[in-house]
Assembly symmetry: C2
Homo-oligomer: 137 residues x 2
DNA sequence: ACATTACTTTAGAATAATTATAAAATTGGT
DNA sequence: ACCAATTTTATAATTATTCTAAAGTAATGT
């Protein structure tokens, strides 16, 4: 359980005003050792059940996008009707269970290093992400 | 330029009735040596400019999903407002240029083989896809 | 503390890709 | 030709996300 003053500092340093809503969302996202994956819909429910506050949907979207731009969240590329975000911002890969619609982290040691031999003139690599789709045996 | 009778056969064998619309879409998608990536929006324009026929949007969606289910198309996992499809159905990876919103194939020899060490009990791997996001240097 | 300004939140409307509906058209088999 | 099953179509519905603009809050200077 980190103190909210820590998030106030973090937000201020990022040029984001530490509002009640942002602090609440920080607490719900980052006040845990475990990182996790979520959709906006998931987060809305988390807020509903774990805080006394009602935060408007627009603010949830605004906040998540602001946090993502600041690098506090990662967006995971999968084809889904909803966008997935990750509180684990380290470079890592994923399993995706399409039935359960759940992401599972692959740690660095779970995947042999990826080497891309091809280059595109005038372009540089921004990220390399592996998505492993899994299914019932 | 393949003959349309070839597509009629292909469709019949798949249990899909060879309708005018499906044959047209087959011709536009598969009558070329080069494979390519497209969205439904792209395909709609391709149909408009390269066939005398008007195919309703619902039919375009229906047909593409039918072809995908039969394995004639692959859906590419990226976060975009539109779904991308690929006429290259071989297992392969992609560059994605987020500015241009364009996919570029990575050939097998462009990427060292991916090895996943982690396993999930009761689950088997269905696919392994690498997405390399690129940007202006 | 008060005033001023900039930023943020909010409810609700708008947008846009995709899916559903159900009637009309087409296909394949007899 | 006839019939049943499938397909196409126009249109409506759905739904995640973004936009809008008014009201609220935070930061800053006096
Ligand atoms: Mn987004
Ligand atoms: Mn789809
Ligand atoms: Zn993750
Ligand atoms: Zn491809």
């Amino acid at each position: 359980m980190r103190s909210s003053t820590e998030y106030i500092e973090k937000l201020r340093k990022s040029g984001l005003r530490p509002t009640k809503q942002r602090i609440t969302i920080c607490e719900l996202l980052f006040n845990t050792d475990k990182t996790f994956h979520f959709t906006i819909n998931d987060l809305t429910k988390i807020i509903e059940f774990n805080s006394n506050q009602k935060i408007s949907l627009a603010t949830v979207y605004n906040t998540i996008h602001a946090f993502q731009k600041k690098g506090y969240l990662k967006e995971i590329a999968i084809n889904s009707s909803q966008t997935y975000f990750d509180t684990n911002i380290s470079a890592h890969h994923h399993f995706f269970d399409e039935k359960e619609k759940k992401l599972i982290d692959l740690e660095d040691e779970d995947v042999y290093p990826i080497k891309i031999k091809k280059t595109i003139p005038g372009k540089k690599i921004k990220s390399v992400e592996v998505l492993v789709k899994i299914d019932k045996i």
